[in-house]
Subunit: 299 residues, 2 copies
Amino acid sequence: MLKKVAIFGVGLIGGSFALALTRAGRVDQIAGFGRSPEVLVRAQALGIIDTISASAEEAVRDADLVLIAAPVAQTGAILRAIAPHLQPGTVVTDAGSTKADVVAAARAALGDKIGQFIPGHPIAGREQNGPEAAIADLYSGKKVVLTTLPENSADDIDRVASAWQACGAQIHRLSAEDHDRVFAAVSHLPHLLSYALVDDIARKPHAELLFQYAASGFRDFTRIAGSSPEMWRDISLANQPALLGELDAYLDQLQGLRRMLVERDGAGLEAVYANAQQARHNWISAIEAAELQVKQGGD
Amino acid sequence: MLKKVAIFGVGLIGGSFALALTRAGRVDQIAGFGRSPEVLVRAQALGIIDTISASAEEAVRDADLVLIAAPVAQTGAILRAIAPHLQPGTVVTDAGSTKADVVAAARAALGDKIGQFIPGHPIAGREQNGPEAAIADLYSGKKVVLTTLPENSADDIDRVASAWQACGAQIHRLSAEDHDRVFAAVSHLPHLLSYALVDDIARKPHAELLFQYAASGFRDFTRIAGSSPEMWRDISLANQPALLGELDAYLDQLQGLRRMLVERDGAGLEAVYANAQQARHNWISAIEAAELQVKQGGD
């Protein structure tokens, strides 16, 4: 049982964590803190948080667990505000989409209290944002990746892992570097590619004609280009080294396909397309099998 | 009223055209022809076609309208088989995703009968294929682009347009060259990019780890990489000049984004992302407004 949980950033991610912990009966009091008093008042009215803290110091005082769920570019400033007030019994975690940069910021901000920080990344989201979008089910059956540090104690890791598990999530462990490489490939690069295509088309002189004939395939491909530009600017910069590596590999791949087009190499094109189709089919089958297992386990 | 319609290729596209025309009460007899006798028998059992033709000659004999809905690489061979038997009263159209190559093949195959060929492209599809996937509603509210030729008569164009309108489709007109440029940008390039990403990831040594963390954004972005590799090989080659042009523009765009990443130009990245998000938002709003109008018009 957690006596007090403090949440910095009570939007979709932090708010859903609060609702899920409350529903699981795992917490006595949830304190919220953030830049916007108005958002905090709405979160309190929605029953997401019990109290609004007047300062970072007040938020973390006597907290068992602190979740930083603000935009990732604010993580460093929040950690610096917390650092002087961090008591020995408090564990801090975060929900940022990138991890190497967060670990570096945490080391700089927390100094010899770094062992109290357990970096995390819940793989869940919705298209809406803000406290009104928060739902207790957001993490149900979803993955949470912890990129723990050598300085973390097993008990502290367990406190964070148990809280996420109480929200219905499955805990995975990766190094911060592996985490960032993985998400550069399967999330950050696709976002960049999708934004790039829509911007490319929108800037053409005949953009209006082009959009007129765009259909469902284009809609799916570009769905992630509807995401927050500020958030993805921050993620792109925060994970710049890994994202550049993935982008360069992808540019090589496109140059290879370009050569096949120029040479009218139908067999080469078909081999790439068929390998992709088969790999995607296998991936979807594996997801569906896992979902079925979760469902049957829950019956 | 059409006395006889002949359909070459009785799968999703040809079969749905047949079902919609029949439902609209616009045709006396539908004859089917294709490479696979087994598929023709299934289509007849499903009530899609009335008769199975023994040859291309028999299929087109006394037909008012011929639809070629076979894979696009077969269009030339079908037109050559039809050409010697094409009577003056018969109009031929097709459903291919590329048009300049089809027009060239038609000119070569039909010679001075070219005026009887009205090139077309219905913008509709489903994930399934074959006659079992055919539905009478496939073209309802969808666009059909006709890329008519100077040799076409107004009456012949009207016969093709009326048939598609009876299926519920809206007729649009573009030149073959404009058509191919438009679809290279909004359809063919996104397919190539999506295949390229999945193949790139699938070939990495840690592909299994990567797929394990791929989530809903990746699923949407790569949905079109589940499409038929043979079909998209053919489209890529058939529309090679326009596709290369779009690919090169996109490669320039990615090089620009790469420079912004290298220089950590957050404002530049955000400007591209924000322009894309806004353009996509405007596009979706326009689609939804048009859908609402169609719905209200139908009440």
